[in-house]
Amino acid sequence: MTELDLVGRARQGDLDAFTALAGARLLAMTRTATAILGDEPEAHDAVQEALISIWRELPTLREPERFDAWAGRILVNACRHALKRRIRVRVREIRLSPEPADGPGFGDDGRLARPAAVGFATVAARAESLGDDDALNRAFERLDAEQRTLLVLHHLEERPLTEIAALLGIPIGTAKSRLFTARRALEIALERESR
């Protein structure tokens, strides 16, 4: 039985078909939610919430062949809701050392060379100097829901931009630019976490 058959049966209220669909995605959904939320129990709740929404809303799904993107979108929305419900925990920032006077973006010849790469290599090195990836993790926590989602979909799930765009309901060009923005935001957040 194909997945489309399962979707069709689940739409008709077949609980076994729904269980099969959910079972095939449960681990991946939980990993995605955990990566976005950074908290496994919270991720379990988001996945649970998403699965119930999927079950409940299946009869209204207009295009069964797009079930995967539709389910992914519901999961992403559940994660967004979870983030919005969360009480933000302020992170105490630790400054290790002052910024070099000449700035990180200048090479030995005094010209601005590879400004971003030099800068972030320095930042990453500082983060590493903390002894682990906590700085990077905290930097990720600074990102908003959409930025986290974009990075997870692209780097963890390795979905192509077309799928990401469809899943988020935005044009491909928008997905591309927002992905760039998300990555840039992570770099900036990492820089701040590393000070």
Partner: protein, 628 residues
């Protein structure tokens, strides 16, 4: 400083892998299944009819439901839905539950630019779309003409026409679309109907007419605020093309109790209230939807059913802009029994509400058709002279082999007769074209005879069998100078018998571009047909268009020729794309004869003995070497 490590893709992926980890999902699937088993799927048919009249009542209802759910959960012993525990032990509720009533801060009014309005399809656009896409099952809004075909009144064999009323058609549609209606009264006379209407494609050849659509003065959609002030002022069979923002509750508006009857059809009240308005303001606050001043209430679930990308924050759906078909519907409150409260059943007679009938998606984009190649300037094709025939046969005989040739020359017995082997009578078949080099023999076919009186000088039709043999077809009538005649120079069909069997005619061929449906012909004859329905064609002196809507009128300066002649013989058949049902007339030279007996006895053949003009072939320009 270690600058080897940069924030590259690998670093981000490593971070996310670490965050994702290997979560333990044991037992989660069973939990999800059990929760799903306890959760009903949302169906289109909603709960019972009721109208919530005050926010206070809605709030009280929500509180009552909250208490009921919490109590039920506590009685169940978990204090939470099965399997939804968190690390903190606090219960969590599915997002669409009425309990998650706090709107998210991001539930601000959606602001989106209005896209281009979806305008009704013209028949030309519809034809173009149909050429590339299947629209079966899709809701359409079309501006066009619906008619019942009128067969030609020209006195041809089938002038009596189909005895029964044929189906209505969409004029100019290709393929020709029949228009039917599940509610025949909607499609009643008088025809023709010309305007905008809603229809759904039942199959590739049939439209289901749903009703007349009112648009703005410019043919586009109106705004919700432009709908009549009261739905009661709109007929329930009247559609309105509306461009607006649809919004609504994304949580069921709770009611204190449900009646014991579950009515069908659109609901207004408990459930997911929805509105359609000019602007994208958010009409939902908590559990209450306040109908915008620039909008109207539409049926519950309209948002979920018709928004392109239903999304919600809390209880509020994110407004979406689109084009909709809207109509008034009558709700019979009396049909709902056992109303729990007068507040929910405030009326006992018919009430009218606006209902979204369909969302009109943008039509598929169809690449514009390449412009027709301009026809080359036309030169009449003159009969071949013996000199040109000889030249062509001497250089490239294969270019003429098998072709129907029209030749002006003299047929004679060969001289000396010694070239004839056998009896004198046998030598009669060995006629040659005088002056041809080498001598080209002309032989009769099984159904033709050579001219009875030789030598014969004139124009005749023949088929080249090989480089030295022609098969005689018949004598051809031409103008005095040997050029083609005009269609109007053809004699009346009933006077044409007994003369030469062929005519060389230069004229404009035209016809229907679609097959006009008609009653099935009993025992249709083989060969050319002239039933006045189907793909009727004509040959005229001028490029006059014989088709008007669904009517085919044989041009006054022309004659009717066999059905499908246009598609068979037009140099480059071009079908009109202006929705008029006709083809683009084309000029060419034809070999024409008469056809007899195409109509079987009966109602379809009552006049003029069944003689019709028949295009045998189109005479293409000869090869260069043979050009007269």
């Amino acid at each position: 400083m270690n600058d080897k490590r940069v924030l590259d893709d690998q670093a981000i992926r490593a971070l996310l892998e670490k965050r994702a980890g290997r979560p333990d999902v044991a037992g989660r699937l069973a939990t999800a299944r059990s929760v799903a088993a306890a959760t009903s799927q949302r169906r289109r048919s909603r709960s019972w009819l009721a109208v919530v009249r005050s926010p206070a009542l809605a709030g009280a209802a929500g509180l009552a439901l909250l208490i009921a759910i919490v109590a039920a959960n506590l009685l169940a012993g978990g204090g939470r839905l099965p399997g939804t525990g968190t690390a903190s032990g606090e219960p969590t509720i599915p997002a669409r539950s009425p309990l998650s009533s706090t709107p998210s801060p991001s539930a601000s009014p959606a602001v989106a630019a209005f896209g281009a309005s979806v305008l009704p399809l013209t028949v030309t656009q519809l034809n173009a779309v149909l050429g590339s896409y299947s629209l079966v099952g899709r809701q359409l809004v079309i501006t066009g003409s619906i008619q019942v075909p009128v067969i030609s009144s020209h006195p041809v064999c089938c002038s009596s026409g189909p005895p029964t009323q044929p189906a209505a058609i969409l004029v100019g549609s290709t393929p020709l679309l029949q228009v039917e209606s599940a509610a025949p009264a909607l499609l009643a006379d008088p025809f023709p109907f010309l305007g905008t209407f809603a229809a759904k494609m039942v199959d590739a050849r049939t439209l289901d007419f749903e009703g007349i659509v009112t648009t703005s003065g410019l043919g586009g959609p109106i705004m919700p605020s432009q709908l009549p002030a009261s739905a009661a002022k709109s007929g329930t069979d009247q559609f309105w093309l509306v461009s607006g923002w649809i919004a609504g509750l994304e949580a069921d508006l709770p009611c204190p109790a449900a009646p014991d009857q579950n009515p069908t059809g659109p609901q207004y009240g408990c459930g997911r209230n929805a509105s359609l308005s000019d602007t994208g303001s958010q009409p939902v606050s908590g559990f209450e939807l306040t109908i915008p001043k620039d909008g109207v209430r539409v049926q519950n679930d309209a948002y979920d059913d018709f928004a392109a990308n239903p999304e919600a924050t809390g209880t509020a759906a994110l407004p979406e802009q689109a084009e909709f078909l809207v109509r008034a519907i009558a709700v019979h409150a009396a049909a709902v029994n056992s109303c729990p409260s007068a507040d929910y059943c405030p009326f006992n007679q018919v009430q009218y509400y606006w209902a979204v009938f369909a969302r009109i998606d943008p039509w598929p984009v169809v690449p514009s058709a390449p412009s027709p190649t301009p026809a080359p300037s036309f030169e009449p094709v003159l009969p071949l002279t013996v000199e040109h025939l000889t030249a062509a046969l001497g250089t490239a005989p294969q270019t003429l082999t098998g072709r129907e040739l029209v030749i002006t020359g003299e047929l004679v017995y060969p001289t000396p007769v010694a070239s004839c082997v056998g009896t004198v009578s046998g030598c009669h078949d060995r006629v040659v074209i005088l002056g041809s080099q080498p001598a080209v023999a002309v032989v009769p076919s099984a159904s033709t005879k050579l001219p009875s009186s030789l030598p014969f000088r004139g124009t005749f039709a023949a088929t080249l069998i090989d480089a030295t043999t022609l098969q005689f077809e018949g004598v051809v009538t031409t103008a005095a100078d040997g050029s083609p005649i005009l269609p109007t120079q053809l004699p009346p069909t009933w006077n044409a018998t007994g003369t030469h069997p062929y005519w060389l005619v230069q004229g404009w061929i035209a016809g229907y571009d679609v097959a006009v449906p008609c009653q099935p012909v009993p025992s249709p004859s083989a060969g050319p047909q002239y039933y006045g329905c189907g793909v009727t064609s004509s040959l005229g002196d001028t490029a006059a268009q014989p088709v008007s809507g669904t009517t085919f009128n044989v041009p006054k300066d022309g004659v009717q020729v066999q059905d499908r002649a246009y598609d068979d013989f037009a140099p480059s058949p071009l079908h009109l794309l202006i929705g008029q049902g006709g083809t683009v007339p084309e000029l060419a030279t034809f070999l024409v004869d008469q056809n007899l007996g195409a109509c079987p006895p009966g109602i379809f053949c009552t006049a003029f003995g069944g003689y019709h003009w028949h295009i045998v072939t189109r005479i293409d320009p000869w090869p260069d070497a043979a050009q007269p």
